[in-house]
Amino acid sequence: MTVAAVVSAASVPAASVSAAAADSIPAPHIEYGVLSPLFVVFGAAVLGVLVEAFAPRAARWAVQVGLTVLGLVGAFVAVVLVASSDDWKGARAVVAEGAVTVDGPTLFLQGTILLLAFVAVLLLAERRLDPGPSGAFAAQASTVPGSPGEREATRAGAAQTEVFPLTLFAVGGMLLFPAANDLLVAFVALEVLSLPLYLLCGLARRRRLLSQEAAMKYFLLGAFSSAFFLYGIALLYGYAGSIRLSEIADAATQAQGSDVLLLSGVGLVTVGLLFKAGAAPFHAWTPDVYQGAPTAVTAFMAACTKVAAFGALLRIYYVAFGGLKWEWRPLMWGVAILTMLVGAVISLTQQDVKRMLAYSSIAHAGFVLVGVLAADDAGLRGVLFYLLAYGFATIGAFAVVTMVRDPAGEATHLSQWAGLGRRSPLVAGAFAIFLLSFAGIPLTSGFMSKYAVFSAALDGGASPVVVVAVLASVVAAFFYVRVIVLMFFSEPAADGPTVAVPSILTTVALALGVTVTLVLGVIPQPVLDLAGDAAAFVR
C-alpha cells in the first residue's frame, strides 16, 4: 500500500510548482496556543512510544497509564483554557494556515472526546477483572492464538502496553477530525484515528480469533471507505479547485463547474463519514467489530469515534455543503430513516449483549442524524448534547459488560444475564439506568438528547423522519425493557455468571457514567448552555 502511495505521488503532477520552487516560501504560521490540546495529546502519545521502547517492563504499565491520563487531563485543561480565556477567545478562528478551525463546536467536541476518552482509559487500564499483567489484552498480539509462543509470552508476563500510546494517537486523530478545515486534513485525521483502532480491535486476550477477525474486517472495510473518502476529495477538488471547506461552499453557491463532480464528490465523502459514524447502509461492520474487540476498546470506539465522526460530518455538511442543503437532505433523510430502523429492528433478535449495544449504537447514530437534518443551530446544539450524553451512557454500559463474568471471561450471552438484578442489584441497576437512557425515558440524559434533536428536526421541517424516529424509539424501547425484565424478573441461572469486583478504575468509570446520565437528565441546562454557546461554525 505504501509502495503504491509513492507511485501515485509520482504520477500526480504537483499542483503548485512555482510556489515550491520559489525562493522564499513563507514559514507557516502555527497558533500553538489554540492548538495546544492536539499538541498535548500527540506529545503524550509520542512519549508513550518512547516509554514503550526504553522503560523497564515492570514499570511500563504504571508509567503508561499515568502518562495517558495526564495527557488527556492536560489536553482537557487546555481545551477549557482556550474556551474560557479572553486572550484566546479572539483567536478562535481558522488557524494553522487554514488547515484547522478552532471554534465553538470544535472545542465542545474536543472536550467531549477528551472526557469520554478519560473514562474509557480507566476501563482500558483495568487489570483486576482479568488478572494478569496484560489485563484484558493479549500478552503479545502477534503470537498465534493457541500457539506455544502465546503461552510463552503469557508465562513471561508480557503486557501489550502499546494500547495506551495507540489510544492516545487515536484520540489525537479524533480531536483533529472535527476541527479539520480542509478535506485533506480531515482525511489525515481520519486515518490517524482509524489505524490505531484497527490494531486495538485485534488485541483481545480471550476469544482472540474473533478479535482478530473483527480487526481484519474493520480494517478492510475501513480502508475501502477511506478510499472512497479520498476519491471524493479528489472529485471535489476537481470541482472547486480547492479542498478548503469554505471555498468548496463558495464554488457550490456560484454553481461553477460540473454538478456531477460535485454531487459524486459529496456522495463519496459521505460514504467515508457515514462509515465511521456507523450509519446504515455502511453499518454492517459495527456489530462484528463491537463484539470481537476487547470490551474496553469497544467502549472507547463506541463513544469517542462516534463523537469525532459526527463532529466532522457536521462541520463538512454545515460549512462545505451548507448551500447544497436541498440536494443532500433527501438523501440524509433516507439514511437516517434506514439507520434508525435497521438499528432498532435488528437489535430485537440479538442474544449477545455487546452485539445488542452495537445495534443500539447504530440506532442512535440514526437519531443523531435526525439532529443533523435540522441543519440549523438548534440542531447542532442538540447533536452536541446528544453525543456527550450518549457517550457517557454507552461507556458505562460497556463497563457493566466487563464486570459480568464467568470462568471463560465476560459472559455476554443475554440468557446468562437472567436474574442479574437479584444477585447484584447495584450493577444491574446501573445497567438498567443506561438502558432507560438509551430508550429515552425522562429524567435520564437520553430523554433530553432525544427531545433536543427531535424538536430541532421538527422545527426544521423533517417531520416524517421524526415520526420514524419515534417508531424506532418504540421498537428499541421494547427491546431495552425486555432486557430489564430479564435482569430483574427472571430466576438467576444456577451456574450463571457473577459480577466480579473491579478495581477502583472501572468503579469510577461506572459511577461517572451513572452520574452523568442522571445529572444530564435532571439538570441539563448548563451543558445545553455550553452546547448552545458553541453552536456556530466559523467558516
Partner: protein, 957 residues
C-alpha cells in the same frame, strides 16, 4: 408545589429505611406525604374558585424552552384531591394488607410513594414536556409496581405489556406535544389550550397526544394490558387502576377538550372508541369469575365511559364526565380494596368459591354494596348523579349530529345496563349465600384494614346528596368546554326523559342480573370479541420475525456481503446521479494506437480470468498481469518512467504475494451459488463502470490548463533535471517523499515485528556461519567444487535445488545490481531514479533468495535491513540540510558543475543524494520483506510444525 413533589421524593427515598425499622407500619408514616398534599389542595379551594388558577413557574431548561411550571385549576384540583386522597388511604390500607415480612416491601413502599409523587406532578404540570416527563415516570413506576410479584411469569408479562403499550403511546404523545409546542411557540399547556393550534396540523398533533391518553387509559384497542396488569398486589390495582394512573388519560382528554374538541378528528375518534370500550369492557366483565378481573374489565368499561363524556366537548357532557371521574375513583377504589380484604380473609377471589360472606363480614359487605350501587347508578349515590347528567347531556347535545347523539345515548344506556348487571353480579358473587356451596369462614378484619374502603364508600354516599354543591365547583371546568353553559347537577331534576332512562337502566340491569345463568350461556356461545391481547402478541411475534429475517439477510458476518452493500449503494446513488446529470464528452477517441486496445483487452481478460480461477497462485499471477497491462498502457502513452515503476512494483508485489501464499491453501474453495455469483459480478462490473465513467467525467471537466505544460521547463530550471517525475520526487515534492520514505521505514519495521516475535537485530544467518558441508566422504557422487554456483546452495534441501536457477542467479545478479546503480544515477534526466533503482536491486536479492534459500539471502546481503532503512532516511535528511548550508531552503536542489580531468563535464546535483537515500530505503524494505516473510517464516516452519495462518492474515495486506 415543588415542595410537595420533593416531599414525595424524600419519602420515597427513606421508605426502605422506614420499612426496615417499623415494618409494615411504616406505610402509616408514609401516608403523611399524600395526606399533606390532599390538605394543601383543599386549602387552595378558595383561591382557585376566585382566581381561576394558582400557578407557579421555575426555570429549568430555558435554552430548549422547558420550565417547571405548575398550575392548579379546577380540573387539576379535582385530580389532585383524588390522587392524594386515595393515595393516602391506600397507603394506610397497605399497612395491614401486607405482612411485615413480605419480600421487597421496602422497595415496594418507595416505588409506591414515587409513583404518587409522579402522579401528583402529572396533574399539576402546566408545561407539556414536564407533563410528559411525569407521564413516563408513572409508566416506569407502575411497571415496577405491577412487576412486584415477579415470581409469577404472568406478573412479568403483564408488567412488560403495560410498559410497552404505555411507552409506545407516550412517545407518540411526545411527538404531538412537540408539534403543538413548536407551532404554538409555547409549551405552556394552559396557553396551548387557550389558543389552539388549528388545521390538519393541529388535529394530527392532538391525535398523537391522544394516542398517549388512549393507551394509558386502556381504551380499545389498547385495553388488553389493564386486565393483565391485575397480577399486581391489590392496593396497587386500587390505586393505579382505579384512582390514579388510568385516570391520567382521561385527565389529558379533559385537559385538551376545551381547545381541541372541535378539531376535525377529535369526536370521530374519541366518541366511537369510548363507546366501544364501554360496551366491550362491560360485556366481558359480565363473564369473569375472578372478582378482581371482573373489576378490571369493569374499569375498562368505565374508562371508556369517562373518555366518551369528557371527549364529547359539550359543557354538559364535560360536567357529567368530571362528576363521573370523581364517582368512579371513589367506588372503584373501594371495590378493589374490598376485594383485597376478601382475598386476605378467605384466600380466594373466585366468586364460585365464595358463599355466605355477607353475613360474616357485614361491615365490608355494606361498603361493597354502597360502592357497587354507585357504580350501577342507583340513587342517591354519586354514580347515579353522574350517569343521569350524562343522559341529559346527550339528550340535548349541541355540536353533535342528532343521529350521532342518539346512537351514543343508546350505547350509553346499553352500557349502563351491563354495568348494573356486573355490579350486581359482583356483590352477589362476593357476599351472597349460594345454594350448594359451603359458607366460607373468613379471618377477622381489623378496623384499620377496613378504614380506607369504608371512608371511600362513605364519601360516595355523602357526595350524592351534596352533588349540587359539588357541581357548582366542577362547573368552573365545564364552562371552559364547548358552549360553556352547563346545566346544574343534582339528585332531583324532576320527572324528565333522563330520569326515565335511569329507571329503564335499573330495571333492565336487574333483569339481566336475574337472568345471569342464561346470559352466561349466551356468552359462552358468543365468539370472543376484541381479543386485542392476541393482536398484541401477534404484533410482537411479527416484529420479532421481521427482525430475524432482516438479520439473517443482512448481518451474516460476511465481509464480501458488507462490501457489496457499500459498493451497491455507491453505484446506486452517485451512479444514478451521474447518468442523469453527467455532461458527457462530445467525442471520444478510442485509442491512439491499436496496440493500446490489445493491451487493454489482455488486461481485461486477465482480470476476468483471475476472478474465475480456482488456484490461488494463478489468481495472483493474473492480477499481476492486469498490473503489467496498465504499465504497458503507461509506456504506450509516453510515460516510460511510470511504466518502469509500475513494472517493478508489480513484480515485487507478486513476489511478496507468493511468499505469503505459500502459507495458504492452494485452492480457492468455491461455495457460492450461481445466483450469488451473478449478483457479485453485477456489483463488481457496475462498480468498475462507475469509477471508469467517473474518471472520464473528471477528465472532461478540466477547465484549468494542466500543470504538466509548464512542468518540464520549471523542473529543469529549479530542479536541474530533465526527468520530470524524478524531479518531482526529489525536489518539487521532496518533503512528501521524505515523509513517504519515513512511513515506508515504519511499515517495513512493522511487518517484520509481526513475524519476528523475539528479535530481529543481531547476526544475519549466512552460509559461512553454518558448519560448511561436511568435507568427509558423502554418499553418492561428491559434487565438484566448480559446481558451487551459490555459496549457500548446498544448504538447501536437495529436492528444492534447481541448478538452472542457481546458474542464472549467479550470472545475472551482478548485472542487475549494475543496472540498478545506473538507474539511480541516470534517473535525474532519463527514466529511472532512486525508487526504481531500489526496486531493481531488491529484485536482484529476490533472485538470490529464490535460487539459494535463506542462507543465500544472508550471504547476498549480509546486513541488517534496519540499518539500510535507517541509513536511507538519514542520507535523505542530511541532503536536505545542504540546501540550508548554501543559503537556500531545506531540500532545495543545489547543482555543482565542474569539468573533471577524466570524466569530462560533470554536473552534480544534491538531489542525487536524496535519491540515494530513497534507494537505500527501498532496498532495505525489500530485504526486510524477504527476511521476514521469506526466511523467517521458512525458519519457523522448520522449527515447529504449527499453524501460522492467523498472523499472516494481518500481514497479507
Amino acid at each position: 408545589m415543588p415542595y410537595l413533589l420533593a416531599a414525595h421524593v424524600l419519602l420515597a427515598l427513606v421508605a426502605p429505611l422506614l420499612v426496615r425499622r417499623l415494618g409494615r407500619d411504616a406505610f402509616l408514616v408514609l401516608a403523611v406525604g399524600p395526606a399533606a398534599a390532599f390538605v394543601w389542595a383543599l386549602a387552595q379551594l378558595a383561591r382557585v374558585r376566585d382566581d381561576g388558577a394558582v400557578a407557579e413557574s421555575y426555570e429549568w431548561m430555558p435554552t430548549v424552552g422547558l420550565s417547571l411550571s405548575f398550575r392548579l385549576d379546577t380540573l387539576s384540583l379535582l385530580l389532585t384531591a383524588l390522587v392524594t386522597g386515595v393515595g393516602a388511604l391506600v397507603l394506610v390500607y397497605c399497612a395491614r394488607y401486607f405482612s411485615s415480612g413480605s419480600a421487597g416491601l421496602g422497595r415496594f413502599a418507595g416505588v409506591l410513594l414515587a409513583f404518587a409523587g409522579a402522579m401528583l406532578g402529572l396533574v399539576l404540570a402546566d408545561d407539556m414536556v414536564l407533563l410528559y416527563v411525569f407521564w413516563e415516570l408513572t409508566s416506569v413506576f407502575s411497571y415496577l409496581l405491577i412487576g412486584h410479584s415477579a415470581q409469577l411469569k404472568a406478573g412479568r408479562r403483564a408488567a412488560m405489556q403495560a410498559l410497552v403499550v404505555t411507552t409506545a403511546g407516550g412517545l407518540a404523545m411526545l411527538v404531538g406535544i412537540v408539534m403543538l409546542g413548536e407551532r404554538a411557540g409555547t409549551y405552556r399547556l394552559s396557553e396551548v389550550v387557550a389558543e389552539p393550534v388549528g388545521g390538519t396540523y393541529g388535529a394530527t398533533a392532538v391525535m398523537l397526544v391522544l394516542a398517549g391518553a388512549l393507551t394509558k387509559s386502556a381504551l380499545f384497542p389498547f385495553h388488553f394490558w389493564l386486565p393483565a396488569a391485575m397480577a399486581a398486589p391489590t392496593p396497587v390495582s386500587a390505586y393505579l387502576h382505579a384512582a390514579a394512573m388510568v385516570k391520567a388519560g382521561v385527565y389529558l382528554v379533559a385537559r385538551f377538550a376545551p381547545g381541541y374538541a372541535d378539531s376535525s378528528l377529535w369526536r370521530p375518534v374519541l366518541i366511537p372508541l369510548g363507546l366501544a370500550t364501554m360496551l366491550l369492557g362491560a360485556w366481558r366483565a359480565l363473564r369473569q369469575h375472578d372478582l378482581k378481573l371482573l373489576l378490571a374489565f369493569g374499569t375498562v368499561s368505565q374508562l371508556g365511559f369517562l373518555t366518551l363524556l369528557v371527549g364529547t366537548g359539550t359543557a354538559d357532557a364535560a360536567l357529567a364526565g368530571v362528576t363521573m371521574l370523581l364517582a368512579h375513583a371513589l367506588f372503584k377504589a373501594t371495590l378493589f380494596l374490598v376485594v383485597g380484604i376478601v382475598d386476605r380473609a378467605t384466600g380466594t377471589r373466585d366468586l364460585r368459591e365464595l358463599s355466605g360472606l355477607g353475613r360474616r363480614l357485614p361491615a365490608v359487605a355494606v361498603m361493597a354494596v354502597l360502592a357497587a350501587a354507585s357504580m350501577a347508578g342507583v340513587p342517591p349515590l354519586l354514580g347515579f348523579v353522574g350517569k343521569e347528567t350524562a343522559y341529559a347531556a346527550f339528550l340535548d347535545a349541541p355540536r353533535i349530529a342528532g343521529w350521532a347523539s342518539g346512537l351514543t345515548l343508546a350505547g350509553l344506556v346499553v352500557g349502563s345496563v351491563l354495568t348494573f348487571a356486573y355490579s350486581a353480579r359482583f356483590v352477589w358473587g362476593a357476599f351472597a349465600d349460594k345454594p350448594g356451596l359451603e359458607p366460607v369462614t373468613p379471618r377477622p378484619v381489623g378496623p384499620l384494614f377496613a378504614a380506607a374502603p369504608g371512608l371511600l364508600a362513605a364519601a360516595g354516599l355523602v357526595a350524592g346528596p351534596m352533588s349540587g354543591l359539588l357541581g357548582e365547583g366542577l362547573a368552573h371546568y365545564a364552562e371552559t368546554v364547548g358552549d360553556g353553559h352547563p346545566h346544574s347537577i343534582g339528585l332531583w331534576h324532576g320527572v324528565n326523559t333522563a330520569l326515565g332512562l335511569s329507571a329503564l337502566t335499573l330495571a333492565a340491569g336487574f333483569a339481566l342480573f336475574a337472568a345471569r345463568d342464561r346470559v352466561a350461556a349466551v356468552q359462552a356461545k358468543a365468539p370472543g370479541v376484541g381479543n386485542a391481547d392476541g393482536a398484541y402478541r401477534a404484533v410482537m411475534r411479527g416484529v420479532d420475525r421481521v427482525a430475524l429475517t432482516v438479520t439473517a439477510a443482512t448481518q451474516r458476518g460476511s465481509l464480501p456481503a458488507y462490501l457489496g452493500t457499500i459498493l451497491a449503494v455507491l453505484v446506486a446513488v452517485p451512479g444514478v446521479a451521474m447518468i442523469r446529470g453527467g455532461q458527457w464528452p462530445d467525442t471520444l477517441r478510442a485509442w491512439d494506437t491499436p496496440l493500446q486496445a490489445v493491451v487493454a483487452g489482455v488486461a481485461l481478460i486477465a482480470a476476468v480470468t483471475a476472478v474465475r480461477t480456482h488456484q490461488r497462485l494463478t489468481a495472483v499471477l493474473l492480477v499481476g498481469a492486469t498490473g503489467y497491462g496498465v504499465g504497458m498502457l503507461f509506456a504506450l502513452h509516453g510515460a516510460p518512467d511510470l511504466a518502469l515503476t509500475q513494472f517493478l512494483v508489480e513484480s515485487l508485489t507478486l513476489v511478496v504475494f507468493v511468499l505469503v501464499l505459500r502459507k495458504l491453501p492452494k485452492r480457492i474453495v468455491e461455495r457460492h451459488s450461481p445466483v450469488t455469483r451473478a449478483v457479485r459480478a453485477t456489483i463488481a462490473i457496475a462498480g468498475g463502470l462507475l469509477l471508469g465513467a467517473l474518471s472520464l467525467l473528471a477528465l472532461d471537466a478540466r477547465v484549468a490548463p494542466p500543470v504538466s505544460d509548464a512542468f518540464p521547463k520549471e523542473a529543469y530550471e529549479f530542479g536541474e533535471g530533465k526527468n520530470v517525475v524524478n524531479v518531482t520526487l526529489v525536489d518539487v515534492r521532496a518533503w512528501d517523499t521524505f515523509g513517504e520514505i519515513s512511513v515506508l521505514t515504519a511499515a517495513a519495521t512493522g511487518v517484520a515485528s509481526l513475524v519476528f516475535l523475539r528479535k530481529r537485530t543481531g547476526a544475519v544467518p549466512r552460509a559461512h556461519a553454518i558448519a560448511p558441508p561436511p568435507p568427509g566422504p558423502t554418499p553418492g557422487p561428491t559434487p565438484a567444487p566448480q559446481s558451487v554456483w551459490l555459496p549457500a546452495g548446498a544448504l538447501m534441501a536437495p529436492q528444492r535445488r534447481s541448478l538452472v536457477l542457481e546458474v542464472v542467479a549467479r550470472l545475472i545478479f551482478h548485472t542487475i545490481l549494475v543496472l540498478s546503480v545506473y538507474l539511480l544515477f541516470a534517473g535525474h534526466n532519463v527514466p529511472g531514479g532512486g525508487f526504481s533503482a531500489g526496486l531493481v536491486a531488491g529484485l536482484a536479492l529476490v533472485v538470490r533468495y529464490v535460487a539459494g534459500g535463506r542462507y543465500e539471502l544472508g550471504s547476498a546481503a549480509p546486513i541488517d535491513p534496519g540499518l539500510l532503512l535507517g541509513l536511507g532516511v538519514l542520507v535523505s535528511g542530511a541532503t536536505g540540510v545542504i540546501g540550508l548550508l548554501v543559503g537556500g531552503e531545506v531540500l532545495q536542489t543545489v547543482a555543482f558543475e565542474q569539468t573533471l580531468p577524466v570524466l569530462g563535464h560533470v554536473k552534480l546535483v544534491t538531489s542525487l543524494f536524496f535519491d540515494i537515500g530513497v534507494y537505500l530505503v527501498v532496498v532495505g524494505l525489500v530485504l526486510d520483506i524477504l527476511r521476514s516473510l521469506g526466511a523467517e517464516l521458512e525458519r519457523l516452519d522448520e522449527d515447529e510444525d504449527m499453524d501460522v495462518d492467523a498472523p499472516l492474515a494481518g500481514v497479507a495486506r
